[in-house]
Amino acid sequence: MANQAKHHRTVTGLVLGALMMFGFGFALVPLYDVFCEITGLNGKVDLVQAEPSTFIDHSRQVKLQMVAVNNETMPWRFRPVSSMVELAPGEMHQTAYLARNLTEGFMIAQAVPSVSPSEAAPYLEKINCFCFERQPLKGQEEKEMPLVVSISPELPEHIHTITLSYTLFDITPEQKAELAGQGRSSL
């Protein structure tokens, strides 16, 4: 009767709506990344190579602090070579982070950058960064990981200090699989 046809139309419309919202839930992920790029939300820095800028603004100096954080799974010694430097916006700065694998076994690490204040994130350009690719180290091996950064001249006036932090995560493959398998619990 007439109702069935109407129900059919209503229900298909609503089911489609529900499926679309399910897709929208997943679409929030790329939307969030785009949103972070524009506003520098959460100090998320783009992991793509920036080309060096030409103009250097000598009218002001910006303090760039470099900080190192080990995530819980990371028994490496991880420290910036120089923890603080005064830079003119546009000037390229060459420095490095020291990493030493203190355990006996082979490990691979991934560094994740973050900038504070998050407002300054879009203006910190990484020309070369050890966070672009994974960093393997054999047991007790040590290495200097290069980092070349510059602060874009369009940095807003009221920002004087930028803190660039790197968090080191362990992504050694077999650990990742084993970790994922039994859903590690910490009581």
């Binding site: 109702n3 109407k6 529900a18 399910f22 959460n42």
Partner: protein, 524 residues
């Protein structure tokens, strides 16, 4: 509830268990939802009593911290998804067909299925308490990475349980929208819909819009835990704050899903007992619709301290303050309905009045929380716990109880015992306030949320809150006794039941026949 049923010409209800397993009758399914919700309310309530018992005194007396976290998590999940939402769906299943003059819900078989998913979803969820590693212990808001990398192994069962609840809610919502839009009796135009039907129609659209997002976020968790993706794991380029954004994008409309039907119930009850039409019916309908739409743009006021940029904090502060207006003014409509009415104070009216007063107090603390700079002191303290318990316990739960007392004579054909109803109300009213009002003070004084033990300066108010919790908890047994004795043997009810009752549901007999409105009624 074995409703004594008037003889109906063709097939009445089947007998025995198969009546309840295979029922496609909106009245039976409503009854199933209501009893299931009451069982979950008692289960979640026991967990709350365990939490309050531990917090009675400083020091660890009863349970260990990790089990305490499991209790707070399960208490939240069971109360939100097991007690409040199914209760509203139960009331909707019972009353919407009667109110719009429809013979039954649009899709009866799907209606049965959306109920029978819930007992299995909650059986699985509660069984996580007995798994090694314990039940989920990361709060009902299950923030990553505590809920992904650092979760107990039972988190996977939690994820599938949430999937099942989501599917049940979506199917329920589809059923309600199809019934309201397509099965209205002739003459029952959209303009004449009772407000309970309007609020449920809008809530159903909210459900269909946000439950899939919740399903999405738990699916992302599942992939992070088992399939090596890193949506929320910073190591692989993910971001734990992304989880909070997606969760609260679902979360804030969810809190409106839990309160709009309560607005509908109270807007049915107050006019009946004030013997006066609802004040500003059109404004109420439009305001409810606008609340639903605006509830999608304010989610990050739950995240003021996570490190949003200044522009984000300001945006969400302004948007949250602005949408407080349409929500707040509805309270004035109820007061205006009462003004110059001719009121009597039976139990449903008492619960409705307590709803208006205490929900408004919860609304005021919500307004205080909207001010971002001050929220830095309020966030994740017991002030927030007091806020959402004031809008949920005297808010949603009191409205559900008001609805139950209001329609119980229609469901089972007898009047409940009025004095026992009043005793139940006063125990609840006193218990709720003794439990949750001191939480404002200890929250302001600096006690964080979700801690099993606290510093000495919070001791006295915590003791009072625990006493209140036990009063409130055990007074529900009065309600249980009253309902059972009302079903069994008490004074038969007239068809109109209340002197001031209005609406199609009062035109059918009491108790409502198994099949009502087989021929659509004529609505003048």
């Amino acid at each position: 509830m074995n409703t004594s049923v008037a003889v109906s010409h063709h097939h009445g209800p089947a007998s025995g268990i198969s009546r309840w397993l295979f029922t496609t009758n909106h009245k039976d399914i409503g009854t199933l939802y209501l009893w299931f919700s009451f069982l979950m309310f008692l289960t979640g309530g026991c967990m709350a009593l365990l939490i309050r018992a531990e917090l009675f005194q400083p020091g660890l007396q009863l349970i260990q911290p990790d089990f305490f976290n499991q209790m707070t998590t399960m208490h939240g999940l069971i109360m939100v998804f097991g007690a409040v939402m199914p209760a509203f769906v139960g009331l909707a299943n019972w009353m919407i067909p009667l109110m719009v003059g429809a013979p039954d819900m649009a899709l009866p078989r799907m209606n049965n299925w959306s109920f029978w998913i819930l007992p299995f979803a909650f059986a699985m969820m509660i069984s996580t308490l007995f798994m090694d590693g314990g039940a989920p212990n990361f709060g009902w808001t299950f923030y990553a990475p505590l809920s992904t990398t650092y979760a107990p192994p039972s988190v996977t069962f939690f994820i599938f349980a949430v999937h099942m609840m989501g599917i049940s809610s979506i199917m329920g919502a589809i059923n309600i929208i199809a019934t309201i839009l397509n099965l209205r009796a002739p003459g029952m135009t959209m303009m004449k819909l009772p407000l309970f039907v309007w609020t449920w129609l809008i809530t159903a659209f909210l459900l269909i819009a946000v439950m899939p997002v919740l399903a999405g976020v738990v699916t992302m968790m599942l992939m992070d835990i088992h399939f090596g993706t890193s949506f929320f794991d910073a190591a692989g380029g993910g971001d734990p704050v992304l989880f909070q954004h997606v969760f609260w994008f679902f979360g804030h409309p969810e809190v409106y899903i839990m309160i709009l039907p309560a607005f509908g119930i109270v807007s049915e009850i107050i006019p009946t007992f004030a013997r006066k039409k609802l004040f500003g019916y059109a404004s109420m309908v439009y305001a409810t619709a606008s609340i639903a739409v605006l509830s999608f743009v304010v989610w990050a006021h739950h995240m003021f301290t996570v490190g949003l940029p200044l522009a984000g904090e300001l945006f969400f502060m302004f948007a949250t303050m602005l949408i407080a207006v349409p929500t707040g003014v509805k309270v004035f409509n109820w007061v205006a309905t009462m003004f110059r009415g001719s009121m009597t104070f039976e139990t449903p009216m008492l619960f409705a009045l307590a709803f208006v007063v205490l929900f408004t107090i919860g609304g005021f603390s919500g307004l205080m929380l909207a001010i971002a700079p001050v929220d830095f002191q309020y966030h994740d303290t017991y002030f927030v716990v007091a806020h959402f318990h004031y809008v949920l316990v005297p808010g949603a739960v009191f409205a559900i109880m008001a609805g139950a007392y209001y329609w119980l004579p229609k469901w089972c054909g007898n009047y409940y015992n009025e004095t026992m109803g009043k005793v139940h109300f006063w125990c609840n009213f006193i218990g709720v306030n003794i439990t949750f009002f001191p939480m404002h003070f200890i929250g302001l004084a600096g006690m964080p949320r979700r801690i099993p033990d606290y510093a000495l300066q919070f001791a006295d108010f915590n003791a009072i809150a625990t006493v209140g919790a036990f009063i409130f908890g055990f007074s529900q047994l009065i309600f249980l006794y009253n309902v059972i004795s009302c079903i069994r043997n008490s004074k038969p009810a007239s068809d109109r039941v209340w002197e001031g009752s209005h609406g199609l549901e009062w035109t059918v007999a009491s108790p409502a026949p198994y099949h009502s409105f087989s021929e659509p009624p004529q609505v003048k």
